[in-house]
């Protein structure tokens, strides 16, 4: 009872990184609350293939549901597993990725259990909450902190009376780390049919197709990002040249994606990828809040902008006032000259 649960997402037998990030966060929360970290994974023919990708992140107990029809994911069987497991285990917190799967499963589970769910959290903390109307104070609640209203405000959400307190978090927002402390690392293999009703398998996946990511924007140490100020597709393509010489990856703001200069999966920001590179070079990016939310934790931020008052300049370490047409080729030129 009262433990922290993480729903672990898989593709085949590959555990998704976002789940490992959440296990790391879940371990910290469990330590703070003095409870155990539990993980649950469901798939087909996964026994013996996924445990080593999950346990190192500080898991005390792992529930592996291995059975036909559990991969590819469909809503009903995975919902049955979580709902019935949670009825037995009564966790206080459940975390899952704010992925297509997590955002399909989370609401269904929360509705079944009449518990609150907060989507796309950017921070999770433990704290108290005073309900002034009821004159009641709650200790050790999960603060679910998320941007709202298109990223213009940040709201702290709590679920005072309902359990589990559920939250989804986007990939890349938390950072994964193998747990250095000791934990129980127990693994159990419950009987799937005791948790999932046969009627749950009515939705059939006729075709399931996943491509390997074409880039590693999330993990890149150097990110070159372009915004609407790049002006044209041709100008934007200069950033790929710069990324090539610097061995970085290219991303962009939503405005650049909307303009068609960049693939959607390279969008950086609250509704895109969150990055933590050593160096972030923002070219022609004004710095809307929703973009900054996805890159503010970068090590060194360099802004190239002809507008000295661009909001992004406030959080930049270096601001180069100039047009991208002028500055980007110079960055390439002087990097090449000085690294020969």
């Amino acid at each position: 009872m009262d433990n922290v649960f993480v729903y672990v997402e898989i593709e085949g037998t590959q555990v998704q990184e976002v789940s490992q990030e959440l296990l790391t966060k879940g371990r910290k929360l469990a330590n703070e609350l003095g409870v155990a970290l539990h993980a649950v994974v469901a798939g087909t023919d996964i026994r013996g293939k996924v445990e080593d990708q999950i346990l190192p992140y500080g898991v005390d107990k792992l529930f592996v549901f291995d059975g036909k029809g559990l991969f590819p994911y469909t809503s009903a069987p995975h919902t049955d597993i979580l709902v019935n497991l949670f009825k037995e285990e009564k966790p206080q917190i459940c975390l899952m990725g704010a992925t297509v799967i997590g955002r399909d499963l989370g609401p269904r589970v929360s509705s079944s259990l009449t518990s609150g769910l907060t989507a796309d959290c950017t921070q999770l903390e433990i704290g108290s909450y005073e309900d002034k109307k009821a004159g009641k104070t709650y200790e050790n609640l999960l603060y679910q902190i998320r941007p709202a209203f298109g990223g213009n405000i940040v709201a702290t959400i709590v679920n005072p009376d309902h359990r589990p307190q559920m939250a989804t978090v986007r990939s890349g927002v938390m950072q994964k780390a193998v747990y250095e402390g000791t934990c129980a690392k127990e693994v159990v293999y419950p009987e799937v049919s005791k948790y999932v009703s046969p009627e749950a398998f009515v939705v059939k996946v006729l075709d399931h197709h996943v491509e390997k990511a074409k880039h590693n924007l999330k993990g890149a140490p150097i990110v070159i990002a372009g915004g609407y100020g790049m002006g044209s597709k041709e100008n934007f393509d200069m950033l790929f040249d710069l990324a090539k010489v610097l061995h970085g990856e290219v991303g962009g703001s939503r405005a650049a994606v909307d303009a068609g200069w960049l693939d959607h999966d390279r969008q950086i920001g609250q509704t895109g990828v969150t990055v933590h590179p050593k160096v972030y070079i923002a070219c022609g990016i004004s710095g809307q809040i929703q973009h900054i939310a996805g890159m503010q934790d970068s090590g060194i931020i360099i802004s190239v902008n002809n507008d000295p008052d661009a909001p992004i300049n406030k959080i930049a370490d270096y601001v180069i006032i100039g047009t991208v047409e002028e500055v980007v080729p110079k960055l390439i030129k002087y990097y090449k000259q000085n690294t020969k």
Partner: protein
């Protein structure tokens, strides 16, 4: 086979184009400064519904929305594009709802509508970006759900074949009716308003939208028009009309509570400002190389 389709649609403040006056000096949202629009992905959902209606003669499409009386505009926008009918859930008891209480309200209305084959909504609304209401409505009705749909390829023999977006790929699934589908923004855009339908429905209103005392300022008296053209009176439902439990609606029915809301303020850094001159750019590159920040 004719289909009875309900489209879930929400009137939202346009958070995508937030101007300077959108936030008050106290850091709260100035809703009045943001135009109210048809939630973008709900328009994608409407298009999927209208396509099914064309493929299956005799089908009907109704718009279900919850909000203040002015949200009747969402139903009109649906009628202008080819929807047949609409329902506005409006009641102070619905106010302050989180996603769970919203889903409860919508599910009770869908039960009242009855015999629905497909419930289609946008994946998420741009004011909350939660994507929770679709799956929660499905759960409350005990129906299957297909989220992130890009195309409802076909409906035949009581089954819908749906192509959907997944992380890094795509999937095609087959789900028996009735089913709840949420539609992704990458789906086909919605058709524009049809001029004839705009003419037909421009005075269509919910009773609560109509002026209690018609005047030049409050609006003209159209009671005669409404008496002769019943299709101009849109259905509006209160909690009691849908046999809802007030305890599960609005703020009372919401497990999540907002503890605090903050305006976003980023910590300003001490930054070095450079010009675009060759000397400045080269000096920066050298500094970064020397510090092994790049290399």
């Amino acid at each position: 086979m004719s289909l009875k389709i309900v489209v879930l649609a929400k009137q939202v403040p346009d958070t995508r184009n937030v101007g300077k006056d959108a936030m008050t000096p106290e850091g709260t949202v100035n809703r009045a400064a943001l135009p109210a629009i048809f939630n973008p992905e709900d328009l994608n959902a409407l298009e999927q519904a209208l396509r099914l209606k064309e493929q299956h003669p005799g089908s009907t499409v109704g718009i279900l929305t919850m909000g203040p009386p002015r949200a009747g505009e969402i139903i009109r926008q649906g009628l202008y594009r080819g929807a047949d009918t609409g329902w506005l859930l409006t009641d102070r008891l619905f106010a302050g709802a989180d996603t769970l209480a919203t889903s409860y309200a919508l599910a009770t209305a869908i039960k009242k509508i009855g015999n629905v084959d497909l419930v289609i909504g946008g994946r998420q609304a741009i004011d909350g970006d939660t994507a929770q209401v679709g799956p929660q409505v499905a759960q409350k009705l005990g129906l299957n759900q297909v989220t992130y749909a890009e195309n409802i390829v076909k409906v035949e023999n009581g089954k819908a074949t749906i192509r959907r977006v997944i992380d890094g790929g795509a999937e095609t699934v087959e789900a028996p009716l009735p089913v709840v589908v949420t539609v992704n923004g990458s789906a086909a855009p919605c058709r524009p308003c049809n001029a004839k339908l705009v003419m037909k429905y421009k005075y269509a209103t919910c009773p609560l939208e109509r002026p209690a005392n018609p005047s030049e300022e409050a609006g003209p008296d159209r009671s005669e028009l409404y008496a002769t053209r019943p299709y101009l009176t849109l259905t509006q439902w209160s909690v009691a009309d849908v046999d809802g439990d007030p305890e599960q609606c609005g703020l009372a029915g919401s497990p999540t509570k907002v503890k605090a809301v903050q305006n976003i303020a980023f910590q300003a850094k001490e930054s070095k400002t450079l010009t675009a001159s060759d000397a400045d750019v080269e000096a920066l590159i050298k500094e970064l190389l020397n510090d092994k920040i790049i290399g």
